[in-house]
Symmetry: D2
Subunit: 149 residues, 4 copies
């Protein structure tokens, strides 16, 4: 174990470990002063990929409703990513609870099979009025199940 | 244990659990379409607070050198934060390794004693030329130790 | 006339040319890969200063209503601005129409009397339901007039 | 002339008025609290389109060098743009000076022939060391001329 990589740190995964993919075009200003993506930008990319997948699969409307509240997220960084180009985001569900889901995602640089970063988003489905958790309807569970790990 | 809050989820901490504080002014466009801070923005705020503290304490120059590479970060969200106003970021060191540090931070809304969000950044000090880990010099370790948990 | 500065380009103004001031804290990620503020970020700063002034003076609510739609804006760049630090934004009204206003703003680096950039925002007050222009009420006109050029 | 649209305001142009096109994928967080693109984001999109065109045509390297300094930019907003989807950015050169260029651009929503917004960027080519204007080499002028208005 090196100091930089504590033992709890996961190893980078490959594309085959993910169930769905979204392509995202990088922007010039995604690069920070160091010439690579700013750490907060990785979350923006994960969030965009997840929203695109949810929308494409009819789990949220174009207006983003019903709301999925992010209760926790995180990212492990393996290799730098830099504009120009695109990234491919691999998605899968790590957990499908009664009113919550855990999305697990990885960022792949173009043409690469090993993840440059891996992240997760734990989200709770809430009612748009009272903001309280609501069970995920059966029809939606069936869709989510298609990308369950 | 409710579905929304898995047992592993930490409880919100209070100000007294942190060793240093940085104030950050919110911006109108920190709010997303839901009228509160976008999840990626929390990382921007954590990163800004950490950079301000490192710079004020002479651990990095105005140019951000030497570089601290983020190898992992994460955030648990307890309560929404919204523009206008400021947030106060509590900082402490959860771990002081030979060439790496783990910053632990919390976001406090103005006038509140309980964290609205808690995050961490694990960072490795690297050489600006070869990008390989470098030991943190003793003089710097002494500064870091002032906020060690 | 030099090629870089066409004759139509205004000269930088001084603080005395502005009627109100807002301070904005810069963020680490306001700097782009060149180590200075990204051009789009200037608009973010102008917009934040304008919103802060409008809100402080009761011309919009905390929710940003009623909406002021930006119909045109622009910026002339004189000197680079870079994190860390704050900028001061000078504001004045260049025009007070029946349902529209033209904000004129300048960005001043800390301790400097000459603008690093100058911009304008032409905005129309619209109804939140039908999105059509609405006259600015007399009581609000009186407030706007306090910063009229 | 209505109050909201001063006579100096240009009319929206059509695709045929532009010489080159770049597609840009919108992101969820491009929408602001009003559910449409934030004004500063238009500049980000213009800048991305311009950079993509310059890079594709060999006028700047992947590192963005040599630097083109923005000395002035502006935008007129005609119709709102909102995520999801893509925008197409029309580009042309309004002016080709000895060391400067004026890019004129328009944002088109998918499937639309009339611009939703029109902007310009006046840029000066500077030396990366002394930051002083440098003549645009003949070979590059020939490339720029292909999109001259």
């Amino acid at each position: 174990m090196t100091d930089a990589k504590p033992s709890a740190r996961p190893a980078p995964e490959r594309r085959a470990a993910y169930k769905a993919f979204e392509r995202i075009q990088l922007r010039w200003n995604d690069n920070d002063i160091y010439g690579h993506l700013y750490n907060a930008t990785y979350y923006e990319l994960f969030d965009c990929a997840m929203t695109a997948w949810l929308s494409r699969n009819g789990l949220i409307g174009a207006n983003g409703r019903p709301t999925n509240v992010v209760v926790e997220n995180g990212c492990v960084f393996f290799a730098e990513i830099r504009y120009p180009g695109e990234v491919e985001v691999g998605l899968r569900l790590g957990r499908l609870g009664s009113s919550s889901v855990r999305f697990e995602m990885a960022l792949f640089r173009e043409g690469e099979d090993t993840a440059a970063a891996q992240g997760f988003f734990s989200m709770v489905r809430v009612d748009d009025d009272d903001h309280r958790p609501r069970p995920i309807p059966e029809a939606q569970r069936a869709v989510y199940a298609t990308i369950l790990r």
